[in-house]
Symmetry: C2
Subunit: 312 residues, 2 copies
């Protein structure tokens, strides 16, 4: 039993195109119509054969759709919702995949007619790549998808079944609570990664070439996250401002305490924290949310085609 026979996806980047691929694999009879604001992206989507219909306008793509999934940056949700509002079928379910939920819930509720069901969603999955070529069908398997409807009901149950069919685990949550949780597990880590990569490239006493050469000491892990989509992340910080600032305040407080322990040579304080943090890693692996392979299973040994050495 399919939850939805006609699905529309607006925005065909990493997440939108992964959804299209996953739907093709897991629900081959679904009629899929998509749109993207970029003509280049639409052409790639056509070439890759990711949808039945590729429309120039989102309003065209949503006609007759039983499920509409908005896969655009969080800051664009309200404008896209306004564009499609008049063309949505009665009883359609409208969801999204944005990393912030309270602002999206407010924007969609304000822009959309009362005869559609708004059920915001957030699949906690992704990579540092962007664009329609970077998507893949298994992106959501074993990952959590959080739904934040104002009121749980038949629409959110249908949407839950849809995500589960794509291999995701679903949890319902209050939108404001979602934003606090993700501020910790996703937004703050991204902010810090962007910040440290910026700091490292602006030093006078250490060259950029040195930072790159000796990045295997830990820095390189941060650069992966700091390669994520700039517009998407700009919007996340602008729309989840309160929770991000609150969490950032806590982090800064803890970091300053660590700074003080280093300055005063308090080895026991450092060792106690460094011991405690090991347990969290273990729990994440046990819960299946990361690979157990050491060093993320990176191949050890020289790269297949070593680049020329960077002269200093």
């Amino acid at each position: 039993m399919l939850s939805f026979a006609r699905v529309s996806i607006i925005g065909m980047g990493l997440i939108g195109s992964s959804l299209a691929r996953a739907i093709r694999v897991r629900m081959p009879t679904v009629r899929l119509s998509v749109s993207d604001s970029s003509a280049d992206v639409r052409a790639r989507v056509e070439a890759l054969g990711l949808a039945d219909d590729v429309c120039d306008l989102p309003a065209t793509a949503v006609i007759d759709a039983e499920l509409v999934i908005l896969c655009v940056p969080v800051g664009a949700m309200g404008a896209v919702a306004a564009e499609i509002a008049d063309d949505l079928a009665e009883g359609a379910v409208v969801t999204d995949v944005g990393s912030v939920k309270a602002s999206v819930l407010a924007a969609l509720t304000a822009a959309l007619p009362a005869h559609v069901h708004v059920v915001p969603g957030h699949p906690v999955a992704g990579t540092e790549r962007s664009g329609p070529d970077s998507g893949f069908a298994t992106l959501f398997e074993g990952r959590w998808c959080i739904l934040t409807p104002q009121q749980p009901g038949p629409a959110s149950r249908q949407l839950q079944a849809f995500w589960e069919r794509l291999g995701a685990k679903v949890e319902l949550m209050d939108a404001a609570h979602h934003d606090r949780v993700l501020a910790v597990t996703s937004h703050l880590p991204h902010l810090i990664a962007y910040s440290i990569v910026g700091t490292a490239s602006d030093l006078e006493t250490v060259t950029r070439s040195e930072v790159i050469k000796y990045s295997a000491g830990g820095f390189r892990d941060f650069t992966r996250i700091a390669a994520s989509d700039p517009v998407m992340w700009r919007d996340v910080f602008l729309t989840n401002r309160e929770a991000v600032l609150e969490t950032l305040g806590r982090f800064t407080e803890d970091l300053v305490a660590l700074q003080r322990a280093i300055r005063w040579g308090e080895g026991d304080t450092l060792e106690a924290l460094f011991t405690r943090t090991r347990a969290i890693r273990r729990s994440i692996i046990d819960e299946g949310q990361d690979t157990e392979a050491e060093d993320f299973g990176r191949p050890h040994g020289p790269p297949a085609e070593p680049a020329d050495e960077d002269p200093r």
Copy 2:
């Protein structure tokens, strides 16, 4: 032509045991004698057959060695050097693998007799695992090893040839400059990772179980680094205090500027930084210091044996 026919390794953790394995593979005729302060570790090293001789005391292991490699936490270097000082052969080269170099250079020079050659070293390689079972022979291949001798000479050239034979790329550097470079590329990333993992596990509004479940949004990358050896890292921060505090100050300054941009809704500032940081990732991959595979090549899809779901 072998640089050294008799090699001694003191400390058989991740790095020491990887060195032993690499020597076995790349220089099978080398006579290898090792020691470790832990009886359990010595027993494992015997069982794994990692050395010709496994000695209870470091002083016994270094007798007749042409090269002695200290693979103990940075804070223990001086004490171990004092223990072996009277038993070192005339003209022996003494090196180490510590992540901090100025303090090690000072400690070794102070503790060791004038008839040995002190050439501190730092292979910029490792994983989050610890202990003799976690080592592997290819750990140093394609990675940089930094040597920081007071004066370059025959001893440092011999040691360079030794590391190159193990597959590493070698660079000579002033010890103080090494400490500033690594403060950025390794020490600060570890400090921040430990700190954010600590912050995340101490919140009242978000449960630990939620942090673990939704860690795929970015947080899990930090937990890998924060699972590194607590004692080793305690010593790094205590012995590279000045450079770490200086770099941390720069980072905090930049982070506060980002915080301000978020508070005032300055989207352009955020987007400009997030765009700039992408280029660094590209350079690190081009230089062969990280894998190009998206998401570190993590397998996508459910884990082989999914753990039980964590009840909330």
